[in-house]
């Protein structure tokens, strides 16, 4: 048991680093994921992951596998798309999803264009699928910083963010903090996706954000509990995913997301809040 569950992390430093990275991602990403889900923006995360890709690719083109260049590129591309789409949606009649689609498609096309102009056959597998088993000190510090910033920022914008979700018109009638809150939230999403792509790659970074959040909704009704549970599930996914990868030799990033997916499936089936279980095992109704 010990050999199976714990010794891989004692024996190998790269496993310990991977574990710390996965935990950091869980702490920052899962709460953001819960709000994305509650605001019906789950697919926004996915779109944004695509929007970040060209930015990171451009950073890669100019500086190679340089943490700073790729992070900066990703953040610039992500923030441009998220803020641009948010501003257009707020100042015109355009719905946010359509406006976002327009922006991220242009960003993606631009990124691919720039790469093709350079004409070099670059290995972007690293960006696509991440390198969770090769996290260096700088990357770990980046992930930890992102998690810290995310938790602090969420605490600061908690009230207006919740109000903006529940009753945006009311928030507008009592305060001007709606727009800045929304923009800070979008920035947090971008930060976490950028952090995620170093470990899991752009395409899977959304997974560690959304799957634990979606799973948590099947277990609890209260917002704070939902966020705590999402973090726990994300941490669990990271740990079990790394174990699975270690013992089976499967790629670590996808293994983590797959575990999160299994936890989600279990929640859909057995979760007490709207899970499928209720459909198959009916309970008798109460008197009042």
């Amino acid at each position: 048991m010990y050999d199976y569950l714990i010794s891989p992390f004692i024996e190998f430093e790269f496993m310990r680093r991977a574990l710390v990275g996965a935990f950091a991602l869980a702490l920052g990403g899962a709460p953001v994921g819960v709000f994305l889900m509650l605001r019906r923006m789950s697919l926004t995360g996915d779109a944004m992951a695509h929007a970040i890709l060209p930015g990171a690719a451009v950073g890669f083109l100019f500086a190679g596998l340089n943490l700073f260049a790729m992070t900066a590129g990703g953040i610039v591309a992500g923030v441009t798309v998220a803020v641009g789409a948010g501003l257009i949606a707020r100042s015109t009649g355009m719905k946010e999803d359509a406006s976002l689609a327009a922006f991220y498609l242009v960003s993606l096309a631009l990124g691919v264009l720039i790469v093709s102009l350079r004409g070099s056959n670059i290995d972007l597998l690293h960006v696509l699928f991440g390198t969770v088993l090769a996290l260096d000190d700088a990357t770990l510090l980046l992930l930890a910083a992102i998690a810290t910033i995310s938790l602090l920022a969420l605490a600061l914008i908690w009230r207006p963010l919740v109000l903006e979700c529940v009753d945006p018109n009311f928030l507008r009638s009592v305060s001007r903090s709606g727009a800045p809150t929304h923009l800070v939230f979008l920035a947090l999403m971008v930060l976490n996706l950028v952090g995620g792509f170093h470990a899991l790659g752009t395409l899977l970074a959304v997974g560690i954000m959304m799957l634990p959040a979606a799973a948590a909704r099947f277990w609890v009704k209260e917002l704070t509990a939902m966020i705590v549970l999402a973090i726990v599930l994300a941490i669990l996914s990271g740990y079990l995913g790394l174990l699975l990868s270690y013992h089976s030799g499967a790629a670590a990033g996808p293994a983590i997301i797959l575990v999160a997916g299994i936890l989600y499936a279990g929640s859909v089936l057995f979760g007490p809040v709207g899970g499928l279980k209720r459909h198959f095992i009916p309970v008798r109704h109460l008197e009042a």
């Binding site: 509650l38 600061l156 914008i157 009230r159 207006p160 919740v162 109000l163 979700c165 529940v166 009753d167 945006p168 018109n169 009311f170 507008r172 009638s173 009592v174 305060s175 903090s177 609890v220 009704k221 209260e222 917002l223 939902m226």
Partner: protein, 246 residues
């Protein structure tokens, strides 16, 4: 008598088409004013203009220096996400925004106020119910509790009684009467003319333009109502530019 609000040649609308056309008049401080008129008469638009959610096409609204936090507005179809995991207590507590703000703590006195507001609207025991489980009437009661906490000098209600039962309407209009007794200014959009006649001393009959404005029994005459009905309510796609004094 000071005016809480003054409309000066006010035109409000969407995409250059007026929904409220050249409105002039004053709302006295402490007034209890009902705004009535056919669908599409510009009643909701007028309220949106007053809260500042819609800028005038021409003219202006003089709010007599009233700040944002002294105006409370309950829209017709509150865009509330009722699937969001939040309970009645927290929803009502939002009414304290102006005193608590982004970070301010909610003290013991304020907690008592929240509980009192919930109790006043008859939702005792519902504090921890999530808003998704409330009926339409209970939801409206909760929103009135939030209005209570907002403690505003000017209260705007857009069809607050739509689709409610008699019991709820009686309870909530008693609250409106209480606010009136506290000399707050209240403007309510309503369709139920009997209710207007029995509870609102002053009325504005709107059909894009003001058909009549004054004492309720002088405004809601058969003549005036027929006139309001005749005034067309559709946008004319090729309407000419309005030449009235801008």
């Amino acid at each position: 008598m000071t005016a809480a609000l003054e409309f000066k040649n006010l035109t409000l609308g969407y995409d250059r088409h007026p929904a409220v056309h050249h409105l002039n008049g004053k709302v006295a401080e402490g007034a209890l004013l009902a705004v009535v008129g056919p669908n599409g008469a510009g009643k909701s638009t007028l309220l949106k203009g007053i809260v500042g959610a819609l800028d005038p096409l021409t003219g202006e609204i003089d709010r007599n220096g009233a700040k944002k936090e002294t105006i409370a507005y309950l829209p017709q179809l509150a865009e509330i996400d009722r699937s969001f995991p939040i309970d009645v207590y927290d929803l009502v507590a939002m009414g304290l925004w102006h005193s608590a703000g982004l970070f301010g703590g909610i003290g013991r006195a304020q907690k008592r106020n929240i509980e009192q507001a919930i109790s006043t609207v008859g939702l005792d025991g519902f504090e921890n119910r999530s808003i998704g489980t409330l009926s339409g009437g209970q939801m409206q009661r909760a929103l009135f509790a939030r209005l209570l906490l907002q403690d505003a000098r000017l209260i705007l209600l857009d069809e607050p009684f739509a689709a409610l039962d008699e019991n709820t309407i009686a309870d909530l209009s008693a609250l409106i009467a209480r606010w009136h007794g506290e000399r707050r200014t209240i403007i309510t959009v309503l369709h139920d003319l009997d209710l207007v006649r029995s509870r609102f001393p002053e009325s504005l009959l709107l059909a894009r333009e003001a058909v009549a404005w004054g004492k309720t029994n002088e405004v809601l005459t058969a003549d005036n109502l027929a006139k309001a009905k005749r005034m067309c309510e559709v946008f004319h796609p090729d309407a000419p530019v309005c030449e009235a004094a801008a």
